[in-house]
Every structure is written in C-alpha cells, then in structure tokens.
C-alpha cells in the first residue's frame, strides 16, 4: 500500500456570494482584476459585459444571475478566464480564486463542467426570421 501512486485531480475554486464552485484547473487560463466592464446591450442579464484584453474582448458571466445567488457585498471582483475549445469566456468571482487537489476517487460537489456551462450559457441564435437568410 505504501508505494501506491495517488492520482489527483486539480481544481480551481472560485466563489460567488456564499457559494463556492470548482472548475478543472486545465480550463483556467488566467485570472484578471476587473477594471472596467463594458455592457453588451441586448445580451441576457447573466452576461454583465465584455472586458477588453489585448485587443480582444472576453464576455464576463455572472453566475449569481444563473444560480440565483444573493450577493452580500461586491468586495473583491476577479474574472476567471476559461478556455472552452479555443473560446475565451470569463466568470466573475467574489474571491481570489485558488487551486486545490483531490484524490481522483473523490466526487466533488459544486463542480462545473466548463463545456456544459458554455453550451448552456451561450447566446442562442433567434430561430425565427432566419428562413430566407440561408438560402443558397
């Protein structure tokens, strides 16, 4: 038993209000200080805006709006930038995110699958009014 190699999984922990979420460490590419977020008119309310980073914009998502979490204070706002299949999206965190490792066998609560999250929150194209557009 003593020689057993323990496989571990690495996560990034971030928080919204009283809650904490885990996300796989591999998908986190950077953590930014939020200076100014520019609103994107017409987007759903969970997208608080866009943050310009190196000539490109990163959409900032507030999961509090998605999971109905109440915020007590907006103390320390950070943006956790995730890479989901080459696309960058940002998630607001009320705490400075930190990394943890668990044994591979442990099932973690409050785990977020970045790909799923991305697909769920992605802005869907309006289905109507498209009929004539895509004719050959």
């Amino acid at each position: 038993m003593s020689e057993e190699i323990r496989e571990e999984k690495h996560f990034c922990v971030f928080g919204i209000g009283e809650r904490e979420f885990l996300i796989p460490k591999e998908s986190v590419i950077q953590v930014l200080d939020i200076t100014k977020i520019f609103p994107i008119p017409g987007s759903p309310d969970y997208i608080v805006g866009a943050l310009p980073v190196r000539g490109k914009i990163i959409p900032a998502i507030d999961l509090a709006k998605v999971y109905n979490i109440e915020r007590i204070n907006y103390s320390e706002n950070k943006l956790l930038v995730l890479d989901v299949e080459g696309e960058k999206i940002g998630i607001l965190s009320d705490i400075t995110p930190f990394f943890v490792s668990f044994d591979k066998e442990i099932v973690v609560d409050d785990y977020l699958d970045p790909k799923k999250l991305y697909e769920e929150l992605k802005i869907k194209q309006p289905s109507s009014n498209k009929t004539n557009e895509n004719l050959p």
Binding site: I40, P41, G42, G55, I57, I123, Q125, N129
Partner: protein, 746 residues
Amino acid sequence: MIDQTELIKYFLLESEDYINTLLEGLEDLENKGFSQETLEAIYRATHTLKGSASIVKFNKIATLAHKLEDLFEAIINHEIQQDTSIINLVRRVVNSMINFINEVSQYNEEKSELDSNIVNLIDEIIEKKIILQTEESQDIYAPLPMINSVRVELGLIDSLFDILGEIIVQKNIISDREKELRNLVEDILKSGKKLFNEIISFSDRYWLAPLGEKTKVLDTFFTDFSDLEFDRYDEYHIFTRKIAEITNDINEGLNELISFSENLSSNFKTLGKEIITLKDSLLSIRMLPIGRLLNKISEAIKDTANNLGKQINIEIKGGDIKIDKPVFDLLYEPLIHILRNAIDHGIETPENRLSIGKPAKGNIKLLVRKEGKYVVISITDDGKGIDIDRVKEIALSRGLLTQEQMHYMNNEEILSYIFVPGFSTSEDVDFQSGRGMGLNIVKTSITKLKGTIEVYSELHKYTTFLIKIPQSLSITNLLIFRSSDLEFAVPINYIEEILTIEDFPDVKSEKLINHKNRFITVKVFSELYFSSNGKHSEKGYIIIFNFSGIRKALLVDDILGQEEVAIYPLGKFLEGLTQYIGYVLSAQGTPRFVIDPVKIFEEEFVFTISKPLTFESTAYIGTVLIVDDSISVRRSLQTLLEAKNLKVYAAKDGLEALNILEEKTVDIVITDLEMPVMHGYELINRIRKDIRFKDLPIIVLTSRGTKKHQEKAIDLGADGFLVKPFDEKTITELLSNFQILKNQIY
C-alpha cells in the same frame, strides 16, 4: 478592356496548377492503375485549362486541352479501354502544351505550329475506340516556365491582417500615451519657468538689498577674503545662486525633453504612415482585377444566349479595377444570376428586336468604376425593361404592399420590391417583361459582401442593376455613434444621410419623419436594447439608411465620427446576438459593438413581407376607422393600432369615412376635426343621424384641446376626446373604455 499581359500572368499561374495536376494524375494512373477518381481529376483539369486558355485566346493550348478532355471523357465512360498504353500519347500532348505555355511566358503568344498529328491521332482513337500505338515518347517533360510568384493561402494573409489590426490598436494606444507625455512635459516646463523666474526676481531683489550687520558669512571660502577683495556674500546669496543654477539645469533638461518628445511624435507619425503603407500593400496582395471575373462570366453568358437563340454583345469597361479576392469569389454567383436573367427575360429574340426597331443584337454593358473605397458595377441591358405596373400588381397580390403604401412610394422604391423574398416564387414566373426569381438571393449575396444593389428600368428600353460593394472586406468604413453613454459603430455603406433632431422635434414620439417627401419610420436606438432611457439628451441625430430603395431611420444621441477599421467577430459564445456584426476597439481599447442595420430593421421587412392577405380576417380583435387629413397621423396611429391586433381603415376626410362605413364593419371611429371636403363636426353629425351607427363610438382626435371644441364635439355625439400629440398609453386606455381592447394582452 483589361490589360492582356495581366491576364496572361494569371493564365500562367493557373496553367501551372492544371499541368501539375495532369502530371500527377498520369503518374498515378501509371503506378496505381486507372481509378475513376484520378481520371475525373485530370478530366477537370483539362476542362478548366481549356476554359482559361480560350479566355486569353491561346487557341492551340485550348485545342490540345479540348482534345485531351474528349479523350478522358471517353476513357471515363469506358468507351476506350483503360490501358496504360494511352499514357504515352497523353504525355506527348501535355508536353506539347507545356511548350506552348513556355512560349507564352516568353513571348506572350503561341509561336510554334500545332502538331496536327497528335490531334488527328486522338480524334482517331476516340472515333475507332481503340488505342493506336504511338512511338515511345521521352519521359522527361520540358520544365514549366519559372513564374516569379508564390501562392499563399488566404488564411495566412488574414492572420497577417489580424496581427496588423492588433499593431494598429497598440500604436493608437501608444500615440495617446505620447500625447499625455507631451502635455505632462509642457506642464512641467511651465512650472519650471515659473520657478526660474521666481528665483531670478528674488535673487535680484535680494542682491540689491543692503546686508544687515548681524548676518555672518559662514562659508570659509568667502571668509578668507576681505570685504574689499570680494563682493559681499551671505548664505542667502549663495543659496539663491545655487537654486538658480539648479533651476537652469532643470530647464535645460526640460527643453531636451521637449525636443525629445517632438522627435518621438514625428517618429510616431512616420510609423503610422508605414503601418498604413503596410496595410495597403497587404490589401493589394489579395486584390485581383475584376476584368478576370467579368471575362469569365461573359464567356458563360454568351453560351446561354446562344442556346436561347439570342444575340448579344457584351461591353466591359473598367476591368482593370481591383477587388479583394473574397469579394471576387463571392461576386461570381450574383453577377451571373443577373446576367442570366437579362438574357432570359430582358433581351428579346433577334426577330422581336428588329420588329420594334432595335438592333438584332442585344447589348449588355458591364461598367465598373471606383467610388472611394467602393466599387460600383452597373449592369445594363437594352431589353424589355421591367413593367412597374406588373411589379405593383404582384406586390399587391402577394401582400407585400398595400394600395395606400404604394401611394406615397416612388417608382424606384416600388421597383426595389423585386428583391423581396417571395416576390416571385417559381423559376418560370416571368412577370411579363420583368425578371424571374432569385433576385432576393442575389441581394442576400450582395448584402453579405456589405454591398448594396439598386435597380432602375424603363419599359422597353433598359434595365440597370447598380451594385456597390466595398473593394475589400477586411477593413470597413464605420460611423461611430453614441447612445446611452455607450459607443457603437455601424457600417457606412447603407447610410444615405444624417439629419439633426432639431428639424424633427416630434421624431421621438411619432417615430416617423417626412423627409424629402418620403415618410421614413424611425427607430430610437436607445429604446431598442436599454430598458431604462433615463436621461433624454437634447442632442440627437437621425441616421437615414437606404436598403436598396427602402429607407429606414435610426435615432442616436451623438455622432462621434468615422473610422476605417477591421471588425472582429464576436465569437461563438456571443454570436447569437445577431444585431451585431462584430466589434471594434477604439484607440483607447473601448469596445464598440458594430450593429447590423439590416438586422435592426429586419422585423419591419419581415412584417411587410409576410403580412398575409387576410383583410377581413377574424384574427383581429376589433376594427378602427381613422379619419385624419394628415398622412403621418394616419400612419403612426395605424401602426400603433395594428400592433394591437386591430384592423385599421383610414380615411383622409369625412366623406371617405362615410364611404368606408357603408362598406365595412367598424367598431370605433377616431376622427380629426379640421379636414378638407367634410370636417369632423359634420362627420359626427352624419354618423349620429344614421340609425345604424347611433351607438358607434366616436373619438375626436384634435390638436384643439379647448373646452369649447370639446363641448361642441360631445354635443354632436362624440364619445371621447384625444388631444394631439397622442401617446400609446392614452389611446390604449381610451380604447379599453370602449371595450375595444378589453381582451388585450399588452
């Protein structure tokens, strides 16, 4: 006409590809056996080579390619045995073609004679369907001409553009920083001068002041001298002198800093110029002369005309104007569509033409010219022209337009409805002298190119399509505007005019302006995406868009200027926000979302397009008759009420209103008082006298809000009173009082 040498250059480039495909194909046939796939590949290569060669009139190469094409076709169809012995013959032909290509590259023409032996041999083989043995040909091919160019994937150039875009952003940021630096330096310089002056004047004053008895000189340097030997110094003197010297040094340094920052800004200017040159030359890399495209298309069109027994002459002007490669590729379909239409439906048969006094040969003009960063292509045929009355009929019958709408549209606007989807639905529909279907597809393609298309026509004389497209797709000319404290951009190509709000004080409430005798509906940008429109800015601009003759307007808070930039896509996560084409970054790095004007007004188009012909439909929750002599009042009220699912009839005076009442069932009348022919009082009087209408609710709509007018109207039998300008809420409330909107869900 396009420069021939330019065309030859492209031909050489292309032919190299096709020859290589052929050679590789032959290798494969020999080594891997005959596969249908390889055969088809080399068949296609010869076919295209034939086409390209005939455009530049290299008939010998074209003939050889043609023969090979026939031969390959026969092999593909198993008419000739698929045997490697044929390859030698093919090699000879290919070699012969390479020789011609070499001659072309050297002398711009085919010098040597065509080897008729080979041609005959192929003909014989195809005819007799057996492979005749030919003498062994050498396996070595003549080398292809050296062409001093490389082929680059468009994607590579695109990524260079991305990098360039980034460089421009960074440069702009640095430029701004540099300005800040200059201001800072100037401020410091000013303070430095002040300090210097202070010191000087202080020391001057102090110098002249007599020394007090008690001041003692402490500096040993001075105490070693007697008073007579040296001016009298005390510590203040020395201090001020030192300060003056230091200040002087600082000043000196500041002056250097100033000249440094001046140099820096001139360096930046040079850098800026270089970046622009870089951008332009990068753009020119993927620019192609439009003549290549037009030549290709006219060849295809001549075939179509021949098949239809029509004679045409195609005139091309401005073929040397260059366009971006992606634009070039995307233009092929729409252009060929328009030209096919011109031949199918426009140009008459030679007999027909002669009988109406036109020359037998139809004439098609393709004129290309540059307008700034745009390329304008006009396609004119001298055929039947478009019958505007038929267009009106069809628009009416398909429910695209109503009589009333047509009333205040000019011919150009009505004509533009031929681009509307569903205008004609079948390929066979040829509205007499007009064009068949597919124009909406043409329009969609042009729109994708950020271009516009317009149509002009005179019956029996001509039809002209005017296409305006940006020369390049990567850099767009944008108008920057502000709304609700955010900055946005919109491509300039649809913008026709910008008006100030001062000339249209009621635009915010009426959402309609009358400009140059056109009624244009206005959208208030801040109301589109912002729920709160807290502060109303006094300033305002109305941007008029022209979508192929259909005009729409957008009200914004402020116009910030114009910029030429590369638009970045929003990315997959945000692409559902179809109202935006993408975004650009300001020099300061602030994102500006680029709105798609077509999308912003889309529902309106869809509304006019898909409005079904259910005039007496029961889908309406009620019927309203509007009587007013002002068309804008009628229009805005109608739009407002129709949005509430009410059927609306409109009359411009009392008499018209009575006629409508005779024919239609009306639930409520809204009438103006002052009107020509029959005014409102009389209308109310007449309605009330008619036993059928004694309970019909009547609302008076007037700008005369005085008690006297109200009382008179009520006396005559009016049931309600509405003072202009009206707002939606008041009307809704009023109508619900009369049970008209009792079930309304709004």
